[in-house]
Symmetry: C4
Subunit: 202 residues, 4 copies
């Protein structure tokens, strides 16, 4: 019961955050710029929308995989979950900022926007790893399902804690490349994550 509501609230927050991303997409009829020109000029918004949608969507998928194995919810797990959600909720802000400065901004501003976006990704990776470690540790004592692969799984997420900020640094050279790599990382974590039987179904 407790877990059901944790999932329902998390699903709700992630569903709202992922949908608010669309608020960054808008064009206004104008005598000076055709729709085609406006859409072309706003390509960073569409690219960032796609990548952020994928990132949050995959976080949701993995969130449900992790919580699917939890038997008892404690306050620390709730706290880590709230931390993760706080950064998920920040994604629309980081996304619109990056898109705005990618469309028209000075290099120094764009660099800061890149670090803001990459920092949000990194913060999500860190809080997700904390959540994952807590979820599987409380589970370790209660079941025999995770322990064999837990060390490997935690390590795999731990790698994310190093890789995500590294990708942000890559973004200082090329922001579009950063977006591509974050999208690729999400696809990797989507199809190749936990080693549970769910992945065997692909």
């Amino acid at each position: 019961m407790s877990k059901t509501r944790l999932e329902a609230f998390s699903d709700g927050v992630m569903a709202v955050a992922i949908t608010l991303l669309v608020l960054n997409l808008h064009v206004t009829p104008s005598a000076h710029a055709s729709l085609a020109l406006q859409l072309a000029a706003r390509w960073p918004s569409f690219a960032a929308f796609g990548v952020s949608f994928l990132v949050v969507g995959v976080i949701w998928i993995n969130h449900h995989t992790v919580l699917g194995t939890v038997r008892q919810v404690d306050r620390l797990l709730l706290f880590y979950n709230l931390l993760l959600l706080a950064f998920v909720v920040s994604v629309p802000f980081a996304t619109s900022t990056l898109a705005g400065y990618l469309a028209n901004g000075k290099a120094t501003d764009l660099h800061l926007a890149v670090l803001l976006y990459g920092g949000t990704m990194t913060a999500m990776a860190i809080s997700y790893t904390l959540l994952f470690a807590r979820a599987t540790s409380s589970l370790a004592s209660a079941s025999q399902r995770w322990p064999p692969s837990r060390r490997a799984a935690v390590a795999r997420f731990g790698v994310g804690v190093v890789v995500y900020p590294a990708v942000a640094l890559l973004g200082l050279l090329s922001a579009p490349l950063m977006l591509l790599v974050y999208a690729g990382l999400s696809l990797y974590y989507m199809f190749n994550q936990t080693g549970t039987q769910e992945t065997d179904l692909d």
Copy 2:
């Protein structure tokens, strides 16, 4: 359990997307234009709101019919579902763009807005067909319930993949007519879709 959260997240995203449509409706007290004039000038917003609400509402209904028959959720199903949701989330953007250029825009801009709207509808039809095929295929091996009518049902959705872009082309002649046809298609898919016993209740 896994399926419950897939449904909860999808319900959440679709509920938010369908409600965000209303953000496109707004009037501002003005000394120059009466409320009646403003409402009249904004008829495309109301028409597009109604049609898009119906389209997303019916996608939700059929989504729940399809998932109701799924027994096991795999990563590919999750991916197709995320793809469908990405286009559902884009509907408020496509809707407000179409409404904006329908109210005041040049013909070439309106044509592009029509294609954007029709393209979003088509992308939803394609990703829904992918989701449907995956859902019923993973089911086919697990139960004997769908196989008899599965080919017919997949074909019926496959038709949508052809019809939806055709309606968009029709929209190049008349955008309001396109909206009417999309509304009609949604009503058709609402009341006459799967051949399961649910429809027998009407």
Copy 3:
């Protein structure tokens, strides 16, 4: 299961719609108008926010009471539910329009805004009555729980179909009075509606 998702989606839409009401509340730091002056000038926004929040909240409560008695969901029920949700989603628009013209608008504009608000309330009452009649009729054949009081309950909602537009006409004389009466009606329907044992607990 089917009913669970109907409830989840409806809960989601109503939760988003009720929360979007707050987007109509905002003040901007200004050198010309103190915060106190701005809050005072915006009293219609706060009043309309409170009333609309109560109205949607009570619709949610009664929605869950009605659906709580449904055993089988059919397509017509889904359609009436979608109709109800379409008008629920329109409430933030009707609310912000009324508040805007109540704060500063000509009498004719305000009258139209009043009719828009009252019309939305009436449309919700009608679609709720349709939903209620359908929900209890499909139930009538399946159980013996509702029939005794069903006629009375449908009549009580049928009265709403007459009362709600009448209150809108009252609003042509005084919009604040209309808001007060709608709030009172919601409180009445909240505490004195269905005659089921739930109300006995008060």
Copy 4:
């Protein structure tokens, strides 16, 4: 069942409200102010976002603890719940108002914004206490689980009814200090609240 939907609706409203907080965060590329300057000038928005996110998140956690012990939902409980949600939904407005006047506003305006924010916190504390008292009283007759500690728990929340407005008065001296104390109170209520076995897991 009834309780399930109460939780689902409350989760939805709180999830939307907590996510709407992010709408207050936005920067616009500008030739006059670098991104770094804009982020620095907007520190109150980020601070208020963090505190309000924590406050609403902890209210959600405690809400689910309280409702987890309820066996029967009555109309008065629904009313108190609706009251709590009305103030939760007001948090984004109170937050953006406080942040706006903290960034640039006269002292008198800021004082009023502080009282608005503290008043919202106080109203949440009062309605939460009402909800808690009602939830545990209806439970008291049905089970033996809460009675022993109920008096203490109600008292602990009752203290909040005094402390929350006191912190608002503190905010008249220093608004940032007020935010810090509200964050601290939330952390206290998060990790040390109900005395149920859930807290034992920390």
